[in-house]
Amino acid sequence: MRKDLVFGMAGSGGDGIVSAGDSLLQAAAAEGYHGVMTKSFGSQIRGGESSCRVRIATEPILNPGGNLDVAVALNWEDFLKFGAELPVSGNTVVIYEAATGIKETEIPLVGVTPLQVIAVPIAAMAKETAGTERAKNTVVLGLIAGWFGIGAVAVMKGIRKKLAKKGEELVNANQRAFDAGRAFAMEHPLKTSMAVMPSETKGQVKLITDGNDMCAAAAIFAGCQFFGGYPITPSTEIMQFFTDHVWKYGGAVLQAEDEIAGIGAAVGASFAGKKSMTATSGPGLSLKSEMMGLASIAELPLVIVDVQRGGPSTGLPTKTEQSDLFAACFSAHGDVIRPVLAPTSVADTFRITIEAFNIAEYYQTPVIILSDQEIASRKETLDPIDTSQFKIINRQEPHGADLVDYKRFKQTDNHISPISHPGMLGGTYLASGIEHVESGAPTNSGSVHQRMNDKRTKKFDPLKDRKDLFEVLGNPDAPIAMIAWGSIAGVCREALAMAQAEGLNVKLLVPYLLYPVAEGVYNEFFTSVQKGLIIEQTHLAQTFKLLRMHIDLPKGVKSLARSGANPFLPGEIVAALHHLLSELQRSHEGQLQPQE
């Protein structure tokens, strides 16, 4: 039996593909499986093509998976639009709508012979059992339950709950559609059984959420009481979560008139003493960059989430990419260090968001969370998180003697000055975008500017020693290495496990802190490295170049970079590692020890 199965489904907008994926994921969670679901759309709001990918496994899942084990095409035209996002291989079972009229031997997948191809009269079954083709997605869920053993009970339990308010007849119609799908599967067994093992953790509580909701929930947990933003795909759900919940915690949310006003209000709220946040995607990040410079020079804590999508400009607004890295690190004018953090999954978005607030508050600085469309929009099943393990840091406020002749930007040993806020007696000062002396009074002095730039950059030095913001996986002394961040780190984690299983002596560095570049951490990591790959979803190899700017990379370390919406598959990364190994063997015959 299988431990891991990747489903990919595509159809047109009204086919209920995503809703089927949601049902499947929830059913899998109820049955104790781990699951990840990603969605991908065309940019049309209604109609157009729609797809989802659901990976279900008995072990924790690191990424949405590579080639599909099961492909479901409600029509071929829409399925083919997703190309590399729904890759079919020789190990894939392909299920498609018989009404397409295409023979099983003539499906339009070029250059691949799937494991098995099955035409199913999905629409006809829906019509016959439920009286409407809209039940197609329920038929598909029945087929999945029948063939792969997932959700036989839980799917209908979920649907029953979801539709309870809409009346018994609709629930019954769906039950008939589901049963018909399941019966079809039973009557037409697969040539090779692909049923998934029952999970040992059935019955345990699981959470299901996506990266955007996780980020917003973490922000509120960290004490964020103000959100200012403007709708932009794929970050908008963060603002939506705030509008649903932040009031309950004495906070406020503003859907502003534009991106600038959104961050402006967040800067104002921070000045007023509240933890605050804004969220956007690439084009919005460009609009916000002047305000980010202001928050840096005024030393105001602020968290900015950038959910990356394909760019520049509107680019690929519904697809993931990592190409805002340079913009996140460097889009400020002037000499500025602005910390940039990146989560790698929905689960660690919780921790990274809290870190972002802690760093913002402690260092009195804007911090960017560089999420991406995949993490933000994908749903994961998660084991409950013990929130008591997280420490919350609040900005250092002036007390007693600090407030006698208070100097807002006072030089201190750690370059961090206690910060007052309106309402605090004795703490009045002028915050400003203009250079200022310790009191906050404006100045044109070159020597003050030099000193203040020192203050505002040196304060970040301790951040570069935060080894806990990096993860090294695999053999720490390995000669072959990978570096990857964000959603790509998940693919590389799986590639690492596969490569190790094949005997490669390899390691992986996952940075959660991207900027300032922690030279020491990388230099230590590279000590053993002779060959390596910096793997990223950018066309310009931005990560590779950012690291090369700060570090003398070993000669054998190369870039593996490509544009967004062209996913990396763990298998191809393993192949690339094998290639590095053979290069290494040619140059250092006999030196390489296989890993135990």
Binding site: L207, I208, I220, H245, E257, I260, G262
Partner: protein, 291 residues
């Protein structure tokens, strides 16, 4: 809210020496603000004063309060964030005509429709002074400046008509030609419960034209009280506002006799209403449990 105690105008004057040109109208404006604040009597630490960029935007630095001299055109978004974060504060925003009606021109409509309780003071001198004399959004058509050598080709913005049309609850105009009147109007604006706008014709002594100096302004000034204008009459206010540029009407154009609830008050109401539904923060992830 603090206990009221006596404050005098000088208590709001900071130690910074203004960099304005001698004779600049903004000297009077800052005096007017000190007087208005003293009349209201809120202690300096309960006041947040936000500005953008420009000569006039230096004004928070010359006022004892929590000042914020921010970026060009963005005093209002920042002031709004401050007010929503802490509605107990007295929040002022100020800047020039370029700051408010050109680069930041998109914000005022939204502050007005939200009715955030902020007082916005524009020092309108019809010129970009800090960048040394370029055409501004309120410069008259035909005006010769260093970016309009052959005369401006554009009609100016009419700030008064704009904000009245956007639905502002309080709209007034003042000028250094009448300092006591200015202080009174600013005080009334601050006391108004909602978004309040005060346009101040503040002459630029360096780049302003003759007609825009104190003597010229006096010649076209007319008090709205003396005209018998009823500030509850919005249409009459709009009628008068059409004369912006030819006449300088001083006083209150419009004061909504039935002020709408402010956004900040509505935010508080919502917080109070929903706070009973809050999961303890440490359990917030329970929202994601699918049962």
């Amino acid at each position: 809210m603090s206990a009221t105690c006596e404050f005098q105008a000088k208590d709001y004057k900071s130690d910074l020496k203004p960099i304005w040109c001698p004779g600049c109208g903004d000297f009077s404006v800052v005096q007017g603000i000190y007087r208005a604040l003293a009349a209201i009597g809120r202690p300096p630490h309960e006041i947040a004063f936000v500005s953008g960029i420009g000569c006039s935007s230096r004004i928070p630095g010359y006022t004892t309060a929590y000042g914020f001299n921010s970026v060009h055109g963005r005093s209002l978004p920042i002031a709004q964030g401050i007010k929503l974060a802490n509605p107990d504060l007295l929040v002022l925003a100020a800047g020039g005509d370029g700051d408010g009606f050109s680069i930041g021109g998109g914000h005022i409509a939204h502050l007005i429709r939200r009715n955030v309780d902020i007082t916005y003071i524009v020092m309108d001198n019809q010129i970009y002074g800090l960048t040394k004399g370029q055409l501004s959004p309120t410069s008259q058509k035909g005006r010769v400046t260093c970016t309009s050598r052959f005369g401006s080709l554009e009609e100016p913005v009419n700030p008064l008509l704009y904000v009245l049309a956007y639905g502002a609850g309080f709209v007034a105009q003042a000028s250094p030609t009448d300092l006591a009147g200015m202080a009174a109007v600013i005080e009334e604006a601050i006391r108004y419960p909602g978004f309040a706008f005060v346009n101040i014709q503040s002459p630029c002594v360096t780049y302003g034209e003759e007609a825009q100096q104190i003597r010229g302004l006096k010649a076209i000034s007319e008090s709205l009280v003396s005209l018998g204008h009823n500030p509850a009459d919005r249409l009459a206010a709009m009628d008068l506002a059409q004369h912006y540029g030819e006449k300088m009407h001083l006083g209150v154009f419009y004061r909504n006799p039935e002020p709408a609830p402010t956004y900040d008050a509505l935010v508080r109401e919502r917080q109070a209403l929903l706070s009973k539904d809050a999961l303890p923060k440490e359990n917030i992830l329970d929202l994601f449990i699918k049962k």
